[in-house]
Symmetry: C2
Subunit: 188 residues, 2 copies
């Protein structure tokens, strides 16, 4: 039930969108201002430390959405295959079918690391932990679960990069179809 979105929450969503479209460096305050509909100085009202705060808020929001779209369906109830399908659909939606980039990638490039140190790392680690936990639950040994989670993240990030470079969502779609058999324990 979408009660009332505060202006700040709306702003964070728009900011996340802009960062994921342009990357950290190219997402200028002018663009973030246009994306949110707020004046530059208004942005400083919600984010006193400027661009750095905006990046952190965008990262936190993205993590929230990933948990919502992927992790929760994965650890929920129902048969395993159905859960994997749900998670795949969630991934596809969050990454817009492969057209929208991942902040784990974008926030490790250029000035982002200097502005918000460790942000990308903590985001990556959170996803790795969640995926490893799921893989372990599905039958993998602890060590193997970690490796499987790493491969999943690698395929995700790589597919997004290639899709972006080629201007095609096909590599991302193919990667999505590979994911379930990767996570599951009963492989050949």
């Amino acid at each position: 039930m979408p009660v009332i979105k505060s202006s700040r929450e709306e702003a964070v969503d728009a900011i996340m969108k802009e960062f994921r479209k342009s990357g950290y460096d190219a997402a200028s305050l002018a663009r973030l201002s246009a994306a949110t509909g707020l004046g530059k100085s208004s942005l400083y009202h919600y984010f006193p430390n400027g661009k750095e705060d905006m990046a952190k808020a965008a990262g936190a929001r993205a993590a929230e959405l990933v948990v919502e779209a992927v992790i929760e369906p994965l650890t929920g109830e129902g048969d395993l295959k159905a859960r994997l399908n749900k998670a795949s659909a969630g991934l596809s939606k969050f990454y817009n079918g492969g057209k929208t980039s991942c902040l784990v990638d974008l926030f490790t490039i250029g000035e982002a690391e200097a502005a918000a140190p460790g942000l990308a790392k903590s985001m990556a680690e959170a996803v790795l932990r969640a995926l490893a936990s799921v893989a372990e639950e599905s039958g993998h040994a602890k060590k193997q679960a970690k490796l499987v989670a790493e491969r999943a993240v690698i395929e995700l990030e790589g597919a997004l990069v290639l899709a972006r470079a080629l201007g095609s969502t096909r590599p991302f779609q193919r990667m999505l179809s590979r994911l379930p058999e990767l996570l599951l324990a009963n492989e050949g």
Copy 2:
């Protein structure tokens, strides 16, 4: 035998290095000037269209180096396993063990695409073509060879992203050890 490096060639190498370290947007003319040891006017002497020309030159040089380090060893003489080892070593060296990024990733972010349209795409396609040709030669059917090449590039790019995010080269190293069995036709 290219004994004497022209000043321009040295500059291109330094520029490529800087782009691969900072990405397109954060690689300012000031940084490129410092990286090359050349004043702005000298840079514009060698690269009349400015940053755009520098990006193109860096991309072309990177492609050259990849062919040299990976493709040529792969299509050379000797037993297949030895060639794969050589290519792996070449990859590791070119990407500095996972510490240096790939321009296919960096040049699809921010203003790069607007400045040099299609550059990242042509680079990605060149690598895909070369890898697919190798995979086909090693026994894969044409269609399968393309898919295998795509997966190899995805793993490469993804491993580089994750390694960068985590600040660890381990994901890249593990990916390198997976590559040979991916390219080879006789899989389970």
